[in-house]
């Protein structure tokens, strides 16, 4: 008898199913599990096997995965919102009211979108800290750190453009203030701002521009770079968590050999559980807490105080102390530049995977945090009540008296701090850099908190209960 010319299953439904899902389900063995990960479009984001120690939750805190989950929630809720929203000054605010009162689940979907967007800013920031403190940016992952910084900027841009869309007082003035920062860039600043706003002030053209950026341009860019970022993680794998003694942190005695396990089910099941728990928490939060909506935008009346979006409050606080070119442009550019070249510095300590590098690294990080916690409010108070640099040097332009001079003084203090950590405490360059990093991050967080909670009417310093009262 002739050979069967068609080796496929006998029944039609089975033939259809096998044309979609090629591998046997459930996979019979490890080999099948690895093949399934490789051949599945979504699972293929992962390698087929991962190092068991990297599965430890308290190493990664699931922050990269959480960011991806939030982006997915944002995409779904964002598309839904697009059906109920028209970006014109006449309709935008009314659509917000309609979402709250007429559209079924409109408030919930808006809340989900709002809170996920805010949580995403926090998540990517924490993700950056986690990668820094575990040395996850070391060779060969230097460029992925830079890509991550780009993603951080895109997330902030997405948030900022979305901030305008409700067209309430909060939105209008936060974007007015935020975009005015741009006009301080020498030469191109003012044209760039007019270009972005579509005119000399926030108006109908601005709403159209920001809508286009928010729903198409930024999401597309984000999708492209996120894919690259994740692909790099897959290629480079995660850094292996290590204990202070350099041995692998496998929860046990500590070995020198890395055990590998199949991604399915070890990693995928953990991801699913974490995603479910986080989705549940975000959903509950969004059921209980409504996204803010103030009165409709009124270009004739700036509220007092007019604050930028909360994640810009650190920047806005800087602006109260420095000439705008420094507060808005030079200092943030210096900070971002320093972050970008960080992984390209020479390492004098092999500390990949060790939290805070070493025992000394941990102590010096603590020193940095305490210094930042004390010095930042002290400097803010000093500048607010005691020190009037432009008043002391009335003949100099404020660009120098309130820009170059205080910046040079602060940089000098930082260099002195670095040298003290290095020489007096005998720390390595890696540990000293980390200490400076902790100091600056603490300062940034403290400035943000001061801006959010301690600034009242006329941006005067106040206690939080006075600001609320």
């Amino acid at each position: 008898m002739a050979e069967n010319p068609d080796p496929r299953p006998e029944h039609l439904p089975q033939r259809i199913w096998e044309s979609i899902q090629r591998d046997e389900l459930p996979p019979p063995d490890d080999r099948g599990r690895m093949r399934l990960v490789m051949n599945n479009l979504v699972l293929h984001l992962h390698p087929s096997k991962v190092a068991r120690p990297t599965l430890k939750f308290t190493y990664t805190w699931g922050l990269g995965g959480l960011a991806l989950l939030l982006v997915m929630i944002l995409a779904v809720t964002g598309v839904l919102l697009m059906f109920e929203y028209t970006p014109t000054p006449q309709t935008a605010y009314l659509d917000m009211l309609k979402l709250q009162t007429e559209v079924w689940y409109g408030q919930l979907i808006r809340n989900l979108h709002h809170w996920s967007g805010n949580l995403l800013v926090i998540t990517v920031f924490l993700h950056l800290l986690r990668v820094f403190f575990t040395g996850g940016f070391r060779t060969p992952r230097e460029f992925n750190w830079v890509l991550g910084l780009g993603l951080l900027l895109l997330v902030v841009a997405a948030n900022f453009t979305g901030y305008l869309l409700p067209w309430d007082q909060l939105a209008y003035w936060a974007v007015t203030v935020g975009s005015s920062l741009l006009s301080y860039v020498p030469l191109i600043g003012e044209p760039l701002r007019n270009f972005l706003l579509g005119g000399p002030e926030v108006g109908a053209a601005t709403l159209t521009n920001f809508y286009g950026l928010h729903v198409a341009i930024i999401p597309l860019a984000l999708m492209g770079i996120v894919s690259f970022h994740i692909w790099r993680v897959r290629k480079d794998t995660l850094s292996i968590p290590r204990r202070l003694d350099g041995k692998i942190d496998d929860g046990g005695t500590g070995s020198t050999q890395v055990e590998k396990v199949t991604t399915l089910p070890h990693l995928v099941s953990r991801e699913l559980v974490f995603a479910l728990v986080m989705t549940g928490l975000i959903l509950m939060w969004s059921v209980w807490v409504n996204a803010p909506l103030e009165a409709a935008a009124n270009p004739d009346h700036s509220p007092n105080p007019a604050k930028a979006a909360w994640y810009f409050m650190g920047l806005q606080e800087l602006l109260l102390h420095f000439h705008p070119v420094f507060g808005a442009i030079i200092i943030p550019t210096l900070a971002l530049g320093a972050l970008a070249i960080l992984p390209y510095q020479r390492f004098d300590l092999s500390a990949e995977g060790v939290w805070f590098r070493s025992l000394k690294g941990r102590q010096m990080a603590l020193v940095g945090a305490v210094t930042g916690l004390i010095a930042t409010p002290a400097l803010v108070l000093l500048d607010e009540y005691a020190l009037d640099l432009p008043g002391l040097m009335p003949s100099l332009p404020t660009l120098i008296s309130n820009g170059w001079i205080p910046l040079a003084a602060l940089l000098l203090l930082l260099i002195v701090y670095y040298e003290i950590i290095k020489r007096v405490f005998k720390a390595t360059a890696c540990e000293s850099r980390q200490s400076v990093f902790v100091l600056l991050v603490t300062a940034f967080v403290v400035l943000t908190v001061i801006g959010i909670a301690f600034r009242g009417e006329g941006m005067a310093l106040m206690w939080p209960w006075e600001v609320l009262g």
């Binding site: 007015t176 203030v177 432009p390």
Partner: protein
């Protein structure tokens, strides 16, 4: 790549292949620049709509007593008449970060609600962080009527008598 040695005269001329490569590259680059330009032009300022940006005829000279500050919200400016009778139109946009600066009648100065910049009646900075005086618009007086051109705000380092217009 072939190892055939080309005649020396060919070394100095561009081969057909290189020329075509260059032409393709240049054409591609040009197409990209054109497409980019078109895309960007979609963003460019669209200010024709709305009234701000045009010329406002705000009233007769005598409608504004000396020492008065009159807001014109549609034009985004204050018409200031100094004690000596000189007219000045101040753009209400704070020179610090763009908030709308209200005139405080009680304290007789402009106080920005955003970062507490304060300005004198003539726009001079009383209190930083504002880096320069309030911008002004061109004022003309024709047949006793005051006109303000909001087309282009005029920046200045310090206010001076040249900013004032007299009837």
């Amino acid at each position: 790549m072939s190892d055939v040695k080309l005649p020396s005269v060919m070394d100095e001329t561009v081969s057909r292949r290189d020329f075509l490569k260059l032409a393709w590259g240049a054409a591609g680059l040009l197409a990209l620049v054109e497409a980019g330009g078109v895309a960007l032009s979609f963003f460019s300022p669209r200010t024709a709509e709305g009234r701000f940006g045009g010329v406002f005829e705000v009233g007769a000279v005598d409608d504004f007593p000396p020492g008065s500050v009159t807001p014109f919200n549609a034009g985004r400016f204050y018409l200031v008449r100094m004690e000596d009778g000189g007219f000045l139109a101040l753009y209400r946009k704070c020179t610090h970060l763009g908030c709308a600066v209200p005139w405080n009648q009680a304290e007789q100065k402009f106080i920005c609600p955003c970062h507490a910049s304060a300005f004198e009646r003539d726009g001079q900075v009383l209190n930083p962080p504002a880096p320069r005086p309030l911008d002004r618009f061109l004022v003309t007086i024709v047949d006793g009527m005051v006109r303000v051109d909001t087309g282009a705000p005029i920046q200045r380092d310090r206010p001076g008598p040249a900013d004032l217009v007299y009837a």
